[in-house]
Symmetry: C2
Subunit: 213 residues, 2 copies
C-alpha cells in the first residue's frame, strides 16, 4: 500500500464505514457494491470509491466489495487490530459514563486506571476499577503500558495535566476538557467539545427559523 | 446582512471563536486584530477574516475587532441570545453527566425534563429534575415549549424515539446514540458519535507508529 497523507475528513468517515459494514456482516451479507453502500450510507457511490481508493481500493470493478474483508481492512487502518490501554483522568459523571460504556472495550479500548484529585472518591471503584490519586499517575502509566489518556477534568487543570501525561509517555489524548491543548507534534489529540457541538445545533435551528420566518 | 448558505465547516469554527473571544473579554481586552486572534487561536489571519466575512465582517481595516461586539454578534449568529428548552431522553451515566454540566445552562440551554424507560429510576431526581416515564414525553414536550431533545439511549431504541420526538414537535436532536437518524429535512440533528472520535484517535496513533517505525 502506498504511503500518503490521508485527509482528516476521509479518516472521519472511516468509523462510519466500519459501523455500516459491521451491520451488513451481522445481517449475513457477504458482498456489497459501492452503489448499495451508497444507498444505505446516504453518500454518493463515487465518494465511497474515492475514500476507499485512498487505502488501495479493496474492490474489484463489477464485483463490489467483500464485506468481511473490507471490514477487517478498515479496522486495521483504524488501528483496531491492536489493543489500547487507557486511563481516565477525572472520575466525574462523564468519566464514569465513559468507563461504563462497554462498546469501547469490544473495540479493544481497555480502561486500566482512573484518576481523580478528589480524596473522597479515591479508593472507590467504578466497574471494578479503583479511583487513584493523581500522584500515582506517572508510575501507573509507565508500569501499565498506557498509550491513551482520557481527559474528563475541568478546563482549568487540563493544560497542566496534559503536560504531565506527555512527560509520562502518553501518546494520545482524548480531550473532553473545553480547552485547546498544546502538546508536542507527535502526541495525538482528539477533542470532544460538547458545548461546541450543542452551539452548532443551536446555529442550525436559528438559521432554520430565519428561513421560515 | 446578506443571506447565504454558510458551510458547516465555518459554523463548526464559530464556537471556538466565541470561546477565545470570551477569554479575551475576561482578561479585559477590548480590541483584537485578526493577526492577534490568529496567534492565540493558531489559525491563519486570512482564515479568520474569511470566516467572519461570511457574516458581514465586523472589523474595520487597520482597527481590528471590538472584542465585546464580535462576541455578541457571534453569540447571536449561534442563536445563543435566545433560551433553548431541552429534554434528555435516557437517564444513564451520559444523560446524568450532561444534566450536571453547568456550562450548558450558562449558555441558555435549559434542561427541563428527563425521561427514561427504567421504572426503577422514574420519580428520582437529577439536579432537581424528576425522571419521568417515556409515556409522558409527548405531553411534556408540547406543554413546556421544548425545542431540543438530547438522545442518550442505546442504538436500538433511537430511531423510533427520534420519530416520536419529531411527531411531538421537537425541532432539534442532539444525538449521542450510535446510529444515523433519518428525520424530515427541517429537523436538525447534531451527532456526537463518541466511538467514531475514539477510532479517529486510534487511526492517528497507528499512522504515527507506522511513520516512526
Amino acid at each position: 500500500m502506498e504511503e500518503k497523507e490521508i485527509s482528516q475528513a476521509v479518516i472521519s468517515r472511516l468509523p462510519r464505514y466500519l459501523r455500516f459494514l459491521g451491520e451488513l456482516q451481522d445481517e449475513g451479507v457477504e458482498r456489497v457494491s459501492s452503489q448499495e453502500l451508497s444507498d444505505i450510507m446516504r453518500v454518493t457511490a463515487s465518494q465511497i470509491r474515492q475514500d476507499l481508493n485512498n487505502f488501495g481500493g479493496f474492490g474489484q470493478q463489477g464485483y463490489g466489495y467483500n464485506v468481511g474483508y473490507l471490514y477487517g481492512e478498515i479496522a486495521k487502518i483504524l488501528g483496531l487490530h491492536k489493543e489500547h490501554n487507557l486511563i481516565i483522568v477525572g472520575a466525574g459523571h462523564l468519566g464514569q459514563a465513559l468507563v461504563n460504556y462497554m462498546n469501547f472495550e469490544r473495540r479493544g479500548f481497555l480502561f486500566r486506571g482512573i484518576f481523580d484529585i478528589d480524596r473522597r472518591i479515591q479508593g472507590t471503584q467504578i466497574r471494578g476499577i479503583t479511583v487513584r490519586p493523581m500522584e500515582e499517575m506517572g508510575q501507573f502509566v509507565r508500569e501499565n503500558d498506557i498509550d491513551i489518556a482520557v481527559l474528563t477534568i475541568p478546563k482549568s487543570g487540563a493544560a497542566k495535566t496534559a503536560e504531565q501525561l506527555v512527560s509520562y509517555g502518553i501518546k494520545g489524548i482524548w480531550n473532553f476538557a473545553h480547552v485547546d491543548l498544546h502538546v508536542p507534534e507527535d502526541i495525538k489529540v482528539e477533542n470532544v467539545h460538547l458545548s461546541d457541538s450543542l452551539m452548532k445545533l443551536s446555529y442550525n435551528l436559528a438559521s432554520c427559523d430565519k428561513k421560515n420566518g
